[in-house]
């Protein structure tokens, strides 16, 4: 394949024009990634509209050099920037224009250098930069481009391909950096927008215009575990969000930095960008009037927009409700320990009710979670024999359809949830899940609370004891000894998978020894250790 070593102004314009159409196709999908209270409701639409204004200006540019086009684009972006993401995007384009200054055409090295400036300027425009947003994606993108150039790559297409790939990885990583994204199980919308624009530009240079017409951009999926909604997180947030206030300020000798300093304490999510003749301002404030008064003294205001964010938040909650499928069956599990809650969440449980041995949740606790789950068909996994009856009570208190799969242990709950069939009817699923229970054996290791004699065992206080499917049948001096006793009672020839959930008081070294011991003794088994964080039980072991 022939290399592309430089790009002229017209191609610069056309590649971003193609990128704009590409972005347009997925702007609704990007909007759907929005997580409140990350500012601006429709990131995809805002970025798309910003790009449109950018390109209108680019087509009006009298100077067709790369520098001329880039300058016009930056101007267009600033004039038409919408929302937080649009403003940051305008900064990225401003950086590009700075980097391409005086260039008739640009090389891969020029592009990499320009992207570096873009990232820097983007960070500078935001008063309080947050990682895990489009800023991070832009930074990672610039680093990747520079690395390619440093490695001697002169082919702009190939450099862009690697850059786009890095941008994609960066987008996929955003939930790791920003908890709100992780909780919502989505990637950052602005980052996705940046990725889509770059991808569109790359595809254009690759000559894939036909393909771009037929296909649409893909939203990056993060492969992070979905975090379950805990009941306490459902409480309505009482803190008011105030007003999202945006406008373009035109005048003479405007000093963006000074304006920024004066507005800094007047609200949240402040962005002030621009030059001495035009400045775009974005702020979340409880008193938009004060901001406008201040601005009116400096110049003329254009495209003024003030939106009530509490109203937006309400709309968002409503939308979430609508978006949630109400016909699909939801599964709710009872479990103690953050680790176990994460396990159930990662396997698709809609919610986890905290509780277990010695801290049985009440019917009301479970009911509350049932009512707040966006589904009217709910399967409950009690995961403890003392909670089954409580769970059975729930049906009489709600209009939703409830089924309780009588899981007595955590491993039973896990196999039941795994067996969940996405295509099956509510009743059938209940049967499938109940049937799965017989496929697992449960070992639980804890410590005796007092000295006693039971099942022919003499047990001292605080001695490790072991239960097999709920029956106390082993005692020993160490956890390992108890586990080995119990394992020897089982027919492990037919077993395939052993999962060890270690509790909050289990020691890492011991867990590793137990894991290694089982693997050595039974080499055909697949053994996994998972952090369960459960209280009281040092180990819960599932044998499938």
């Amino acid at each position: 394949m022939s290399q592309m070593k430089s790009v002229a102004g017209q191609d610069l314009r056309d590649m971003f024009s193609a990128a704009t159409s590409w972005l347009e196709k997925s702007s609704a999908d990007i909007d759907a990634l929005n997580v409140f209270p990350v500012p601006d409701g429709d990131t995809g639409t805002n970025m798309m509209l910003t790009m449109r204004s950018t390109m209108e200006e680019a087509y009006r540019a009298p100077d067709h050099s790369a520098a001329g086009i880039a300058h016009a684009m930056a101007r267009g972006a600033l004039m038409g920037a919408r929302g937080n993401s649009g403003v940051i995007l305008s900064q990225i384009l401003r950086g590009l224009a700075q980097g391409l200054e005086d260039k008739e055409s640009f090389s891969a090295a020029d592009l990499a250098a320009a992207l570096q400036i873009s990232a820097q300027i983007a960070y500078k425009g935001v008063s309080n930069p947050v990682e895990g947003t489009m800023l991070t994606v832009m930074k990672d993108t610039a680093v990747a481009a520079q690395a390619q150039v440093d490695a001697g790559n002169e082919d702009i297409i190939s450099v862009l391909e690697n850059t786009v790939s890095a941008a994609g990885d960066s987008v996929a990583n955003t939930p790791m950096l920003l908890k709100v994204l992780k909780d919502a199980g989505v990637v950052d919308a602005g980052g996705q927008g940046v990725y889509t624009i770059l991808e569109g530009a790359m595809r254009y240079l690759r000559g894939e215009t036909e393909l771009m017409r037929l296909r649409k951009p893909q939203i990056i999926v993060s492969d992070l575990p979905h975090v379950v909604s805990q009941p306490q997180s459902i409480a309505i947030d009482e803190v008011p969000y105030g007003y999202c206030t945006e406008f373009l300020l035109k005048g003479e000798k405007l000093e963006p930095d000074t304006i920024k300093k004066r507005l800094l304490k007047k609200g949240e999510s402040l962005i002030v960008v621009g030059d001495d003749s035009a400045v775009r301002i974005h702020i979340h404030t409880l008193t938009p009037g004060n901001i406008l008064q201040l601005a009116a003294k400096l110049g003329t205001m254009h495209q003024v927009s003030i939106r009530n964010m509490d109203e937006q938040h309400q709309d968002f909650l409503e939308m979430q409700k609508e978006r949630m499928p109400t016909t699909d069956t939801a599964v709710i599990a009872v479990a103690a320990g953050d680790g176990l809650a994460d396990v159930f969440g990662s396997l698709g449980a809609a919610a986890v009710v905290p509780g277990g041995q010695t801290m049985n949740p009440s019917t009301k606790d479970i009911l509350q979670v049932v009512e707040s789950t966006f589904s009217d068909k709910i399967i409950i996994l009690p995961n403890n024999k003392n909670i089954i009856a409580t769970a059975n009570q729930v049906q009489s208190l709600t209009e939703k359809k409830i089924m309780v799969v009588p899981t007595k242990t955590i491993p039973q709950g896990v196999v039941a949830l795994l067996a969940f069939d996405y295509e099956a009817e509510f009743n059938t699923n209940n049967e499938i899940m109940e049937k799965a229970l017989s496929s697992v054996k449960t070992i639980e290791v804890t410590r005796s609370v007092r000295a006693t004699k039971i099942n022919g065992l003499k047990i001292k206080r605080k001695q490790p004891i072991g239960l097999l499917d709920g029956e106390l049948i082993a005692v020993g001096d160490t956890n390992t000894e108890v586990i080995n006793q119990l394992l020897s009672r089982l027919d492990l020839e037919k077993a395939e998978v052993v999962t060890i959930y270690y509790g909050e008081d289990a020691e890492a070294e011991e867990t590793e020894q137990i894991n290694a011991g089982i693997m050595e003794k039974y080499p055909h088994l697949q053994v996994e250790s998972i952090r369960g964080d459960q209280p009281y039980y040092s180990y819960i072991i599932s044998i499938e």
């Binding site: 036909e210 990662s346 396997l347 996405y422 998972i530």
Partner: protein
């Protein structure tokens, strides 16, 4: 003149089988870095899976161009005036668009009907074979196309994936995204529903996966066709065929290999089973 049948490589109809059936298979494209290969023509399945695992960057795939289809249509038009085209689900690939655009560009030389299989792999392969059988029974284009469209809802593809990594990276995950991110190592079982990948359930081991696939087939009262495919583990697929022999004549089970293009998303160690349910009378 008998109807000629065209499909694409995603049907997993190998060139040997295509020769036997007397049909034409249009290849999609697989791209590793800067090298572009015609699926199964310029890259073998073995070579492909070796590189899928060893190369740092995942390959990408592209549909055939309208021109690829025009060339096939023109060659066939010399022998027939009716062509039936059965292609991969329009929700998974743009192949349907290419085949349809090519048809429009042909301008009445020959009657062509393009059927969206809403499936992939042998899920589509068995639809193609059903159409071939109809043509053998002297069905004309309309009848054969009707039969293919009718077979779409009777074709059930279920697949065992060793990992969802490749499907997720390729952006084709569809509704199966709910299966991502499990903290336990689980093997997803997927199906194709309404033309898109959709989750069925999860198992913890290969054996449990084989059990699931067997029980899935055993759950049908009347089976018209069965197909079993592997990506890199032929022995596991053979084991499944052996077991399926209990419910269906073993020698009539189609054995194939998951094509490189699908392999880009399915990854190594995947297994697929297709049941073509018999028509309810």
């Amino acid at each position: 003149m008998a109807v000629k049948i065209v499909t694409d490589t995603l049907s997993d109809i190998t060139s040997d089988l295509a020769g036997e059936l007397g049909i034409t298979v249009v290849p999609l494209y697989v791209r590793f870095g800067e090298s572009i290969y015609k699926d199964r023509v310029e890259i073998t399945s073995e070579e492909f899976y070796r590189r899928l695992v060893s190369e740092p960057k995942l390959p990408s795939t592209t549909q055939p161009t309208p021109n690829d289809f025009i060339q096939v249509y023109e060659t066939l038009a010399k022998e027939t005036d009716e062509i039936l085209v059965v292609v991969v689900s329009s929700k998974l690939s743009g192949t349907y668009q290419s085949a349809t655009q090519a048809k429009e560009m042909m301008k009445g030389k020959c009657r062509i009907d393009v059927v969206d299989s809403l499936s992939v792999a042998m899920g589509m392969g068995l639809i193609v074979i059903a159409a071939v059988n109809a043509v053998k029974d002297r069905a004309n284009l309309d009848k054969a196309a009707d039969l293919a469209r009718n077979a779409v809802s009777r074709s059930h593809l279920v697949a065992y994936f060793d990992t969802l990594k490749y499907l997720a990276k390729g952006g084709r995950i569809g509704k199966a995204s709910g299966l991502l991110g499990s903290l336990l190592s689980v093997k997803p079982i997927l199906t194709v529903k309404d033309g898109e990948m959709s989750p069925l359930t999860r198992v913890r081991s290969l054996n449990a996966g084989l059990d699931y696939l067997y029980n899935y087939a055993a759950g049908f009262s009347k089976i018209e066709g069965l197909a079993v495919e592997h990506a890199t583990t032929p022995d596991d697929a053979d084991k499944l065929v052996e077991r399926l022999g209990e419910i269906y004549p073993k020698e009539r089970i189609y054995r194939s290999v998951i094509s490189p293009v699908v392999g880009t998303y399915a990854g190594p160690d995947a297994l697929a089973l297709t049941v073509l349910e018999a028509e309810k009378k």
